[in-house]
Amino acid sequence: MKILVPVKRVVDAYVSVRVKSDNTGVDTDNVKKSLNPFCEIAVEEAMRLKEKGLADEVIVVTIGDKDCETTLRSALAFGVDRAIHIKTDNVLRPLAIAKALAKLVEKEAPQLVITGKQSIDADNNQTGQMLAALLNWPQATFASEVTVEADKVTVTREIDGGLETLTMALPAVVTSDLRLNEPRYPKLPNIMKAKKKPIEAIEIADLGVSTASTLAVQRVDEPAERQAGIKVADINELIEKLKNEARVI
């Protein structure tokens, strides 16, 4: 079985992002970028399936400019077999990404696609579901446990109020939630090997996918700042304030 893992390069989770003073977007120049944490979990899950002998090949793919090569190298350091870089200098939104990935799926014919449930920059939570729709494949979003048997996958999903387990025929799309696994720290020999692995480049135009979007960003604003309130001395003062000042209990 072949597993395709689409990954995204994002502003690192520990960077405090700032809105540009002209309100055109978020300042992403000269800030640390990393593999999206949910995508990292997806790469780890694919590698675990391979290490259990349930997959023969794991391929990572990303879409973006030349800097995305670093992101592919960090995914390759997990032991991934090979990487594909769909090249574009434009920033794509989920529908265009899903269309490009659908074209790649036609070419590579994986039985399973595992990707992150959302990227921590745009927070859209759309790409996996859109890809499944375009392929007419079943989907298991927000996965916390994945079990692959012969021609089907059983997935426990994080839903509001608890957990849900679904089983579906392969091929399918799975999106990872936080508790699916704890990604490994790649070992030095794997990091070294990753530097030498080939990355196949594909121009997005060659997939016949338009990068144009029907959404136009008009402006980006900082959210309203919340002011720090007061410190209370003890529980009695706290209860008194909540009852008589805030009137919430």
Binding site: V17, V19, V26, P94, L95, I120, D121, A122, D123, N124, Q126, T127, Q129, L131, A133, L134, P138, Q139, T141, F142, S144, T154, E158, I159, D160, G161, G162, E164, T165, L166, T167, M168, D177, L178, R179, T214, L215, A216, V217, Q218, R219, V220, D221, E222, P223, R226, A228, G229, I230, K231, V232, D234, I235, L238, I239, K241, L242, A246, V248, I249
Partner: protein
Amino acid sequence: MSVLVIAEHDNSELKSATLNAITAAKELGDVTVLVAGSGSQSVADAAAQVAGVSAVLHSDAAHYENGIAEELTPLVVSTAASFDYVITAATTFGKNLLPRVSALLDVEQISDVTSVVSADTFVHPVYAGNALETVQSSDAKKVLTIRTTAFEAAETTGGSASVEALAASDAVGTVTLVGRELTVSNRPELGAAEVIVSGGRGVGSAENFAIIEALADKLGAAVGASRAAVDAGYVPNDYQVGQTGKVVAPSLYIAIGISGAIQHLAGMKDSKVIVAINKDEDAPIFQVADYGLVADLFDVVPEMTGAL
């Protein structure tokens, strides 16, 4: 303008998140609610009573019983043909279903809408709520998920919409529900609670969470947790408040032993009143708290429970 709201339900009751989505929908036009379920007449009847709902479309079939996205998608896509907007609440149900619909309609979805600026322009948070993006859509049809905390719940009475039966789409049959493990609790639902008491890593263990729960029960509150507490295994993931968990905005949010990581603040900073109890006076949570108490939670939380 006509708006189609996809109802979320368990075949007996309409989920409260749908009421918030209906309020957002009312800002855009004439609201029709689609109820797809199995043995779900009571849901359709309840939806018809909601104030501001003009019509209810009800499709009842065995394959709609479990809210499986693959089964619902063909019905929503074909029904969407005669509407200008397709909307769900941004719950796990809506987040799972709507992008599937959106892709087949060839529309770019806008996720987690917090404000309707005009018929084609919407505000939604990005970067865990650290930035608010205003986007204009030129798609003929708009597909939106709604951040429930940004819109009041519509009144459950006062409406008198007609209920029209809708033929079911063919069963797809690619996905089978094996089972659900839902947290059974007498406490209010996290997403709809007026008061939430949340614990973080400072609580120290699953056993210690009992003191958080005792305070919550005294206040009639829901229990929440930070991602650190979930990762440490103190409580199940569905307790998680934050960017990667639930976004809440209760009247009172009490954060206990929570440092206040950006990803947690993203999930609760729109609460009306925030209380922080933490022994570290430099904890970032105090920067957003209306009332802060620097103290050992193991001393003061039982004291508070006793004093109420």
